[in-house]
């Protein structure tokens, strides 16, 4: 597998989509129906068939564009689900991991169905993903409109929630890195106290365990993995890259990190530089503080932050110098 492996990339989108569809969207709709927050009739009244061009009629600037498109549509769905679930009367926590019951361990009666999204050629898989994503967007739209129609949420609450969610992403990670590059004292506090120091940048400290910050130096190159699942400080930094959740990455990186970094990311860590792999758990979620590239002496924090990539925050890439 390589970072530019389209099959692996699409498989990651398929797996994530199935997870969000089953566990975050449809289970939530059912939960609200069962609790009487909205009714089936509300959903039917709120439904509208969206217009969209056939997959075959669309034109793409390059081969990666359709993959980025389905990835962006999934991202939009995930944000939409989060926005629609403003805390309100009738809401209750919904289990986010498959329970044993839902896996059918005790009784197949309770199993939540999964669908075979991975069959066929790459283009067939993309077309299917596009259609399935559109269906889920349609359900989400009806669900959101039904909540509004019932007065369970207000337009103001939704707008406020969307605003909050729009600032989440690797942008925050980039700001943390840029501040650490220009402010030694902040860097020290960041490494010492993690989430506490992050507040100085008006980034909400989140609630997901501790933040571990692994600083890359002339002697050490750090890389992050979560072999157990996909722990990552995503409440602070946004989501990790797609390959972070693949079994191949998890298994190889803890056994032969130097070769894995070279094979998967095309990054040669020089001899004499130690590779240090951080296995994240729910108690300490790690990020990498990459090295500041050469030629950035005159840049301000904002310009520095713009150089930081999501890959560099997990140690799969170095931050490139600014383009001349």
């Amino acid at each position: 597998m390589h970072i530019h492996d389209p099959d692996g990339h699409v498989a990651a989108v398929e797996a994530d989509f199935e997870y969000f569809r089953r566990k975050r969207l449809e289970s939530r709709v059912l939960h609200f129906l069962r609790r009487g927050v909205i009714t089936f009739a509300d959903l039917l009244r709120a439904d509208a068939e969206p217009e969209r061009p056939a997959w075959a009629d669309r034109e793409w600037p390059d081969a990666d564009a359709p993959i980025r498109y389905v990835e962006d549509e999934l991202d939009r769905l995930v944000r939409g689900i989060a926005a629609a679930t403003v805390p309100h009367a009738g809401a209750a926590p919904v289990a986010i991991d498959d329970t044993r019951k839902e896996r059918g361990d005790y009784d197949p009666f309770f199993r939540i169905a999964t669908r075979g999204l991975g069959e066929g050629s790459l283009d067939e898989r993309l077309a299917r993903l596009d259609a399935e994503l559109a269906d889920s967007h349609r359900l989400l739209d009806a669900f959101t409109r039904a909540l509004l129609a019932r007065g369970r949420v207000t337009e103001e609450q939704l707008a406020q929630r969307r605003e909050q969610l729009s600032t989440v992403g690797h942008h925050n990670g980039a700001r943390i890195v840029a501040r650490a590059w220009v402010d030694e004292e902040f860097k020290r506090r960041l490494i010492e106290t993690g989430r506490v120091a992050v507040r100085e940048l008006d980034i909400p400290p989140g609630r997901l365990g501790r933040l571990g910050v692994a600083e890359n130096t002339a002697d050490v190159h750090n890389i992050v993995v979560c072999t157990l699942c996909s722990c990552y400080p995503h409440d602070l930094l946004g989501n990790p890259p797609w390959w972070y959740r693949t079994d191949e990455y998890k298994q190889r990186i803890v056994a032969e990190p130097r070769d894995t970094i070279r094979d998967m990311f095309g990054l040669d860590v020089p001899d004499g530089v130690q590779v240090r792999v951080h296995d994240s758990t729910s108690d300490v979620r790690w990020m990498v503080l990459p090295r500041r590239p050469a030629g950035t002496e005159g840049l301000d924090e904002e310009a520095l932050a713009a150089l930081v990539t999501p890959e560099s925050l997990v140690g799969a890439a170095v931050v490139p110098p600014p383009e001349a």
Binding site: L208, G209, Q274, R276, D279, V284
Partner: protein, 77 residues
């Protein structure tokens, strides 16, 4: 209690212990690099686990794997 610099071995099985101890580290020997004390993490587990340590495990060629493990899983080496 362990301190940074202590050599520790990861136990192979701790009934009732934190299940999130990676299997590939069980039975391996490493060095404590940081002691975190008891970490409260109410989102992931209701009761506090025993003290948490960052432990480094050597890999061939001088590289290393670092993981955060609870005291119940560690024995002095």
């Amino acid at each position: 209690m362990f301190r940074a610099g202590d050599r520790v071995r990861v136990l192979t099985d701790v009934p009732g212990g934190n299940p999130r101890t990676p299997h590939y580290l069980r039975g391996r020997t490493g060095t404590v690099v940081r002691a975190h004390g008891v970490v409260e993490n109410p989102l992931d587990h209701h009761d506090p686990y025993p003290p948490l340590y960052t432990v480094a495990f050597p890999l061939p060629g001088g590289d290393e794997t670092v993981a955060d493990l609870h005291e119940e899983w560690l024995a002095a080496e």
